[in-house]
Symmetry: C2
Subunit: 332 residues, 2 copies
């Protein structure tokens, strides 16, 4: 593996000159430049990024910390972050926390301050203020939970409004016993979506009934199915359900079908995230569609600016969303 020194020796110049050429420094004598370029070609030189970064004090890596890659929303997001990061010459280290507090803590601690230039974190259990302590000195951009009061960069949609929009759509269908699946004691986004749900019901003059709010400790298909089964066996089952993500909604639809309850005829179902899976389901899923590409771009961009200038005041970027109406709330 050729080093700068090798190239310099071959070209008959100093390492400095080679370094200048490699790094695109403008003022190099044309003759030297071409000799160096030839030597570069001949040796197949590739810079050792590790050494370069050691010297520059940066790593060239960015960490993307998500609960689980099997959750389609995070898989899609990860793909988009990968693309956005590549444009800024960042490599992405993806870490899974499995949604536990320990997972999130350990992950950030293990990455430490040397491994990465910064992190984009989609926290599930941890709260924003924890990050200051866990990752002292490492730039972090938070995804999801909107905590305007904390001094940390943040990207996300307006979860309250998004949920409110979705539930208003169910109200508009004439449904009156509208349930929610996904309440969670510690998740900020869950609290916000629940708030939006409550507001939409209040807007319509409908009561908020505790028996129609189903908790889900995880947000997988199985949890949605279980919650739906519980709701449907209650004395007064719902005629519509707003699920806090598409996975829960998929499980809910499945549970309904297994009991012979028709979607949307007997119960309309709306989800959240607009994963591609939902668009192809039977029925296809009505869902809140966050602009995931915008989230990814904003997050990478924000992190980049923070790395450049650690002193700048924290910023809260609100990305757009829309409601995708499909079969699961279509017709009567």
């Amino acid at each position: 593996m050729a080093t700068l020194k090798d190239v310099a020796a071959l070209a008959g110049v100093s390492v400095k000159t080679v370094s200048n050429v490699v790094n695109g420094y403008a003022f190099v004598k044309p003759e030297n430049r071409s000799r160096v370029e030839q030597a570069l070609e001949a040796t197949g030189y590739r810079p050792n990024l590790g050494a370069r970064n050691l010297r520059r004090g940066r790593t060239g890596f960015l960490a993307l910390v998500v609960p689980e890659l099997v959750v389609p929303y995070f898989a899609e997001l990860a793909g988009l972050v990968l693309r956005a990061a590549r444009e800024l010459e960042w490599n992405v280290l993806i870490e899974q926390t499995l949604g536990t507090r320990e997972g999130e803590r350990d992950t950030l601690a293990a990455l430490g301050p040397h491994m990465i230039d910064g992190a984009i974190v989609s926290p599930e259990a941890l709260e924003a203020r924890d990050f200051g302590e866990l990752a002292p000195g490492i730039p972090v951009v938070m995804l999801g939970e909107h905590s305007v009061d904390l001094p940390i960069d943040h990207v996300g949609i307006d979860n309250v409004e998004a949920a409110r929009t979705a539930v208003a759509h169910l109200v508009g269908l004439g449904r009156t016993r509208i349930a929610a699946i996904g309440a969670h004691p510690h998740r900020g986004t869950a609290a916000q979506r629940l708030e939006g749900y409550r507001l939409a019901l209040a807007d319509a003059g409908l009561p908020v009934r505790d028996d129609l709010v189903a908790t889900a400790l995880n947000y997988h298909r199985r949890d949605g199915a279980e919650a739906m089964a519980r709701l449907l066996s209650a004395p007064e089952p719902p005629d519509a359900v707003f699920c806090f993500n598409d996975l829960l909604a998929t499980g809910a639809v499945r549970a309904a079908a297994e009991r012979g309850v028709r979607v949307p005829h007997d119960v309309a179902v709306a989800g959240f995230d607009n994963t591609e899976e939902g668009a192809y389901g039977l029925p296809s899923l009505t869902t809140v569609a966050p602009d995931k590409a915008a989230v990814a771009r904003a997050a990478v961009d924000l992190l980049h600016r923070r790395v450049e200038d650690p002193q700048r005041p924290p910023e809260h970027v609100r990305t757009p969303f829309s409601l995708q109406v499909r079969e699961s709330t279509g017709g009567a």
Copy 2:
């Protein structure tokens, strides 16, 4: 950020001693050990992995190169590789090639020899022998395509047998016009699955009809839907379809439903990959289930052994699979 030198100064010993303690070297005078440990604690020392690796000549990173993370199979696989790698103290760099030849070439070239200790590659367009040239000197483990004749480490299931098993199941249902979706001019796995399809038909004494073999240039839901639509509008539509992955199958089921063709009554559908999405679909999907955890473990393990000993002969690991029979081929 404390360095080894800082710790040494605080403990009143040399960097060597600190290094010995940090790296768990056994023979350190107990007194010094405890002083160092205190200093370590007091400074909150964290080794600079970049520097360590520069010195050791390794990077601590492994690249996982996949076509796209939005494909659930790869998302699931990536999650499992992440876990397996963590046990060997490897960080994982995930790269998306988007399934193009350029993407695969550029990715490996960009990673270069310094960034990573090795790569686990799931090639779509590239063939195994390309990797030798692209990534000279960097250890590579191939996933998927089984090319026993090439001198490269490889992990995968027996695609021919797996496809044959799935199609035999459709034959066992009494179906006679069995189609295949997913033929592809350049993909090794596609060729192998097509071969298994042919063998199963031959086993049953059924003819292989070209009009029942649908090509799919991509393996997304949309492609499955399009192929199914084509098959169903033919003069003699199929009564069963074997799709080369679950995404194609999901699209195929959707396309059938849109035309009022019932699954499995009118047409039975089987997929490949056993993604969780298929288990919750309506109908749930019969599918070939590769042992993904075994694939991930074997790949990381194989790569580890190759890094330790670059001279060892290439190995081909065959991981198990099973057939998950569900609603999409259930009943008559």
